[in-house]
């Protein structure tokens, strides 16, 4: 092989090596600045330092969690929005819209089940319900037809106020 060809191959090799080194160095740290961008995602999960999910923004949201398992919300119960989880990863509330009836609602949950429901329905009715597991309940609401206030103790209605 000619001496000049060897020199050329050496030069080409040198160029390739330098190119690769530059490429590796330049791509070692990739900094992406999205502060001026619009993100379009199906879901966003915020986890704490132990990896437990604390906030999920999603469409659709996963089934609700109980003590070591997920339970089924029921038919036509797909919801999208924001869900909050405590430090043990248990669902404690959400601000969501549902797919079937078109309600928007805010829920607050105990460790076991839902306790507060604040809801606006598509036809205009709005209600706030709070309840314990033993049938103690407070229910107030309003619609184009009237307003109501209802309290119950152990499942028995104690007071009821309705305006037409």
């Amino acid at each position: 092989m000619k001496n000049s060809t060897l020199k050329f191959l050496l030069l080409a090799n040198l160029l390739v090596t330098i190119g690769l080194v530059i490429y590796v160095i330049r791509n070692q740290q990739v900094e992406i600045d999205l502060s001026d961008e619009i993100l379009k995602v199906r879901g966003l999960v915020v986890t704490d330092s132990t990896g437990v999910e604390r906030v999920i923004i999603g469409s659709h949201l996963p089934p609700a969690q109980s003590q070591g398992y997920r339970f089924y919300r029921g038919d036509n119960s797909g919801v999208s929005g924001v869900m909050l989880y405590d430090h043990e990863g248990q669902e404690r509330g959400g601000y969501v819209t549902d797919d079937s009836y078109g309600n928007v609602f805010l829920t607050l949950d105990s460790k076991i089940s839902q306790r507060v429901l604040f809801m606006a329905e598509p036809q205009g009715a709005a209600s706030l319900k709070m309840w314990a597991k033993n049938g103690n309940q407070l229910n107030l609401g309003t619609s184009d037809e009237g307003t109501w206030l209802e309290t119950s103790k152990n499942g028995v209605k104690k007071t009821f106020l309705k305006t037409d």
């Binding site: 490429y23 398992y69 460790k111």
Partner: protein, 323 residues
Amino acid sequence: MKTTSRITILISILILFSQCKQEIKLKPQKLTGNNPVAFTDVIYKSGRDTVFVSTYGGHIYEIINNKTKKKKIALLDDEIYSMAYNSSTKQIYAATLNSGIAVIDAENGKLIKTLKLKETWAHKLTYNQQSKLLATSDFKGNHYIWNTADNFRILETPKKIRNAQPKYITDNGIIYFNKRNEVLVWNTQTNQIFSHSLTGTLEDVDKNNNLLVIGGKQFALYNTSTDSLVYKNKHPNWPIYLKDKDSFVNVPLTLEIVSGKLGNNTIYTAGLDKTIRKWKKSTGSLEETLKKHRASISAISLNKNKSQLVSVDLSGTIYFWEL
């Protein structure tokens, strides 16, 4: 080589590098399986001291009492809620969110097969080593009883127990089901069905056919021989651990009971208050409060001769209790 071709090659190399772009791929994520520390279930592998635990992240680990390191057995791309162990075939049965019931080789962690469910998913498995029956139900009310010794053949159940949830299987193949306000007992050999009227979730059955039922903040012991309730009880208080003082303050509130087991002379109940209570079975009086857990207890299990209890919680902590 001619000068022009040399220049062409050099320019090509330069163009190649100038066009190089780093492609960034995002790791695929799911909205489930994000709670990696929580233990969801615990079952005994051996007579005592060795257990399997499962996680939301799809892991199954083997843990030995007094050994800090856990051994990874399997990793499923799914959440695991409940397990059962067949010690003769060395297979783990795992109830998952999306894959039905996974049958896993406990020796090498390989997925052998999956038992499909008709709808939704199951969160509780029950299995008996003697009768080799495995049972569960999905959230739509369909139940499934497999004979694991007969290539997982599904047992046909009588109409009366349709939509009932299998909760406990005895050595001779008697299956206890939960249905609204009753417990149904089906003898798979004779096809006889007995019914007991009681509310709550059946948690355990002892050798005298006493039933442990939990519902909300209460547990109840039910005697099937006399068809009567023996007693009801609840956790009397809520001991809250104060970390900075390393002490407890007993708040006079009762929280829900999440799990329970029947020992020989003792009842064990785990509550949302993060305690396990020991109750004298004959009287229902509280004997002891076990307060080591600092997170919600997700599962408890008794070994076969009921001399050891194991409990796991949502912070990934496990305790073995000598009874």
